[in-house]
């Protein structure tokens, strides 16, 4: 139980008034800066605000960084829910249900649920980090390319199951996303793919370029079609309607639990991170939910599940960083850089050499979500006011920020041109009723899936058996099959009970099995 004592000691250090003040400041700064497109990912926000934190004492500085980290994460969810702009990859999933909720006037509850599930999930994450770190670190080391390929299959299932009304159009969107993701110099072979000799394309298409064009600006184009002046959509005035109801919380309990566990484990895998965590969590929650038909039309569990995964990931990501000295994702890389600047070398020996830093950092990660909850629940009514801004002021501002976001990610005007092009594509997609979300999701997951598949086959000298021979990979595949089978059976049963199935609905079983088979073939 010494781990618990250390954690409590750490909490004691972190709770000093100075530290709390800086954490509060960090949280506010992180939220404000994180709302700007192009800086929406916690890694970018941390990098930008790093100079500020370096002037402080190491422990205080790291505690402030934890505040910034959580603030930035919350900001990413905020823009996704309110404006349908996912500023980082892990909030892409929120555009499905989060923004649909906002359209129904339930932006407040969606944001509240994001903060609450985030808080519960980080509690789970920190407790799990305290007690299971060595075991999870072992698992993290065992997770190689074949395991990732199997996990990606699971993530891509989400894309397929979200294909929507017209499966063909959903597939077109997905295939385009996967294809756009291949642009650039191929990591494995060094070959140029679809670069047409243009050096601006060597590093591929940036996520923020695609998301700002396809979502943010396309959304503006659709909205300006109609009318002049009036706010985007109705916002309830009563405070009670701005926060999640008891019923919402009851509905989401399972989703939060599931999301927390999934996010924690995937967050602990080096190269895993919150994106895959939120995708996998959404897929799991949707396919095991009784209300799975409501997903994509504004189911609040569709916010709670991924957001829980997104936040418990922070606890998980600390495991490889602290126990192996390996940053699990971009945000922890920045944390690592900060630790090094303070002269602290994270790694297997960190807890022995610098317990005075290690434990307060873990404790502050946890406190960060608490501060976030205390700070942002009351502020949600204020954030929602964004929707009350007259649209004729809001949309030029979105367009300006879209240009800033596309430019500042790499300082590239070429990216601005590309973003403008993607915005037209996004608008055409809406007009043709082709869903844009599968394209973005496939774009995010595709490269990791492709690389993991090719790495695995390189390791096995082209034998597909590697996916079932390695126990963890086999387990992940088995879970995938089980989830697909479960959702198919329960959907059939519901259909038999309720209305007869429409002939136009996608034939889920056939589609899903083929996807499961893919890496094994």
């Amino acid at each position: 139980m010494s781990a618990l004592n250390h954690l409590l000691d750490g909490l004691g250090t972190a709770v000093s008034p100075t530290n709390l003040l800086w954490m509060l400041i960090g949280c506010v700064l992180g939220t404000v800066v994180g709302i700007l497109p192009g800086l929406g990912s916690p890694a970018a926000t941390l990098a930008v605000l790093l100079p500020l934190t370096l002037r402080l004492q190491p422990t205080t500085g790291l505690i402030m960084m934890a505040g910034i980290y959580h603030g930035a994460k919350f900001a990413g969810s905020t823009t996704a829910i309110l404006l349908n702009i996912p500023t980082e990859t892990s909030s892409v999933v929120l555009c499905y249900d989060g923004h649909e909720l906002a359209k129904k006037g339930r932006a407040g509850p969606a944001m509240g649920m994001s903060a609450i599930s985030g808080f519960i999930a980080s509690t789970v994450g920190v407790i799990a980090l305290t007690f299971t770190a060595p075991a999870i670190a072992n698992l993290a080391v065992k997770f190689g390319p074949p395991e990732f390929a199997s996990l990606m299959t699971f993530g891509l299932l989400l894309v397929i199951s979200m294909a929507g009304k017209s499966p063909v159009k959903g597939f077109i969107s997905m295939a385009l996303g996967l294809l756009v993701a291949t642009v650039g110099v191929d990591l494995v072979s060094g070959s140029q793919r679809y670069t047409f000799g243009n050096i601006n394309l060597y590093d591929g298409v940036q996520f923020i370029t695609l998301t700002l064009g396809l979502f943010a600006v396309a959304e503006v184009l659709v909205n300006v079609e109609q009318k002049r002046g009036k706010p985007l959509f109705a916002v309830p005035k009563k405070l009670r309607e701005l926060l999640p109801s008891k019923n919402d919380l009851r509905r989401c309990a399972g989703a939060i639990g599931l999301g927390s566990v999934v996010g924690f484990i995937i967050g602990a895998l080096p190269g895993g991170g919150s994106t895959i965590g939120s995708f996998v969590s959404y897929t799991l929650v949707k396919n095991t939910s009784r209300n799975s038909d409501e997903f994509g039309k504004g189911a609040i569990e569709g916010v709670a599940g991924p957001e829980a995964a997104n936040n418990s990931e922070a606890g998980g990501a600390m495991i490889p960083l602290l126990s192996l000295g390996i940053p699990g994702n971009a945000s922890t890389s920045v944390m690592l850089a900060a630790l090094l600047l303070y002269g602290v070398q994270p790694g297997p020996l960190l807890f022995a050499n610098h317990p005075e830093i290690a434990w307060p950092v873990i404790a502050s990660l946890y406190l960060g979500t608490l501060v976030l909850l205390v700070l942002n629940l009351p502020l949600i009514p204020m954030w929602v006011q964004i929707l009350r801004i007259p649209y004729w002021i809001l949309y030029p501002l979105i367009l300006v920020l879209a240009i800033v976001g596309a430019y500042s990610a790499r300082g590239s005007l070429f990216d601005v041109w590309m973003m403008v092009g993607f915005s037209l594509l996004g608008y055409v997609f809406r007009k043709l009723e082709i869903p844009a979300a599968p394209m973005l999701m496939a774009f995010v997951l595709g490269p990791q899936f492709e690389v993991a598949l090719r790495q695995s086959l390189t390791l096995s000298n082209n034998s597909p058996l590697i996916f079932v021979e390695r126990p963890i990979s086999a387990t992940v595949l088995a879970i995938t099959v089980a989830v697909v089978a479960f959702s198919t059976v329960s959907r059939r049963r519901r259909r038999r009970r309720g209305a007869p199935a429409l002939p136009t609905t996608p034939s889920v079983p056939a589609v899903n099995t083929s996807a499961v088979d893919e890496p094994v073939k």
Binding site: L50, G144, I199, G271, P348, S412, T458
Partner: protein, 339 residues
């Protein structure tokens, strides 16, 4: 009638403001250009090949910070990112600023390889005016502690016995660690596999897991795992042993012919645009020389696991030329195999 006049006034006010802003900016552009002939360049910008928070970006910001601390420069040098094509965009940008003295670029050895790997590169490091090399990351070889290899000869012998079976892990195929491994494979008539990961973390876990048997990287990649007894260093790609690993012999000591490789493989430095005046070059050399002697720089080098290599003038040109010459056949053999 009233609204019309108001509208007119608004439009006129906007036009006036706009021309004012543009004129003002043109004026300022003029002043900054006129400064380019003098000995101390003004409005200096430092060009990097990564976005905010990336390796070269942080490196450049550190240089600017230290140069200010050592009173080498009085004003801040803004960092300008030109990220396209692993240095190609940054080099092309610098080429477009020929003869100007207020632009410098933080180059890395990767820039040489990027230009070699492109059919018609828009620019190469040879086009620019090298000012100084500042740092080098010595490449060392790590294997898991449980592995049977105690030196690089053991590894090569096993690779000979089992062709195309052993796995080296690292980044992109065109990264320096793979290129020098390709050279050893060529020299010894062996062949092993290369497992690419975009991020550093998964490379280390691939070693720990046993998916890969060997990795070439920098001290900072391995230090923690070595201290924890999980990885072992078996060779050094340099002309000298490393102070941190005095018992690990260099590749040359182990009998490998390294004469065609330069002593430094992962270097960072500062270069100016083509045709930068000698006066400006010596100004920058002065600023940088002052900076690398400061304790702050030494501390930074230690935290990065880099060693200070202050090389200027013809020695620097020779280093870049030797690096280019030794990498050319390796990069070309790569693009042949990749297609």
């Amino acid at each position: 009638m009233k609204p019309t006049t108001r509208r007119l006034r608004v439009a006129v006010a906007f036009a006036v403001l706009l021309t004012g802003a543009t004129a003002c900016s043109t004026l300022q552009a003029g002043t900054s250009n006129s400064s380019s002939g003098t000995a101390t360049p003004k409005n200096v910008q430092i060009v990097v090949d990564t976005g905010p928070g990336g390796g070269s970006d942080l490196f450049a910001r550190e240089i600017v910070k230290l140069a200010q601390q050592t009173k080498g420069i009085s004003s801040n040098w803004p960092v300008l990112s030109q990220t396209a094509g692993g240095g190609l965009g940054a080099m092309a940008f610098m080429k477009g600023k020929a003869n100007q003295t207020n632009y410098v670029a933080a180059f890395t050895s990767k820039w040489v390889i990027s230009a070699l790997g492109t059919a018609n590169p828009p620019a190469s490091l040879k086009d620019l005016t090298p000012i100084a090399e500042l740092a080098d990351e010595t490449q060392i070889v790590a294997v898991p502690t449980s592995s049977p290899y105690h030196n690089f000869k053991d590894f090569v012998a096993d690779a000979k016995a089992h062709p195309n079976k052993l796995v080296q892990t690292g980044g992109a195929v065109s990264s320096v660690d793979n290129l020098i491994a390709l050279k050893v494979e060529k020299d010894t008539g062996t062949k092993w596999k290369y497992l690419s990961f975009a991020d550093g973390g998964p490379r280390i876990t691939a070693l720990l897991r046993g998916d890969a048997q060997m990795m070439i990287g920098a001290k900072s990649d391995f230090q923690e795992q070595v201290d924890a007894g999980k990885l072992r260093i078996i060779a050094v790609f340099s002309d000298k042993r490393m102070a941190a690993f005095p018992n690990v012999p260099t590749m040359t000591e182990q009998g490998f012919d390294m004469s065609s490789l330069p002593a430094q493989l992962q270097f960072r430095g500062i270069a100016g645009p083509p045709g930068m005046s000698p006066a400006a070059v010596s100004y920058y050399v002065g600023v940088l020389q002052k900076m690398v002697k400061s304790p702050g720089w030494q501390k930074y080098m230690d935290s990065e696991g880099d060693t200070t290599q202050f090389v200027t003038g013809s020695a620097l040109t020779a280093l870049i030329n030797k690096f280019t010459a030794s990498m050319t056949p390796l990069v070309h053999s790569l693009s042949g195999a990749g297609q």
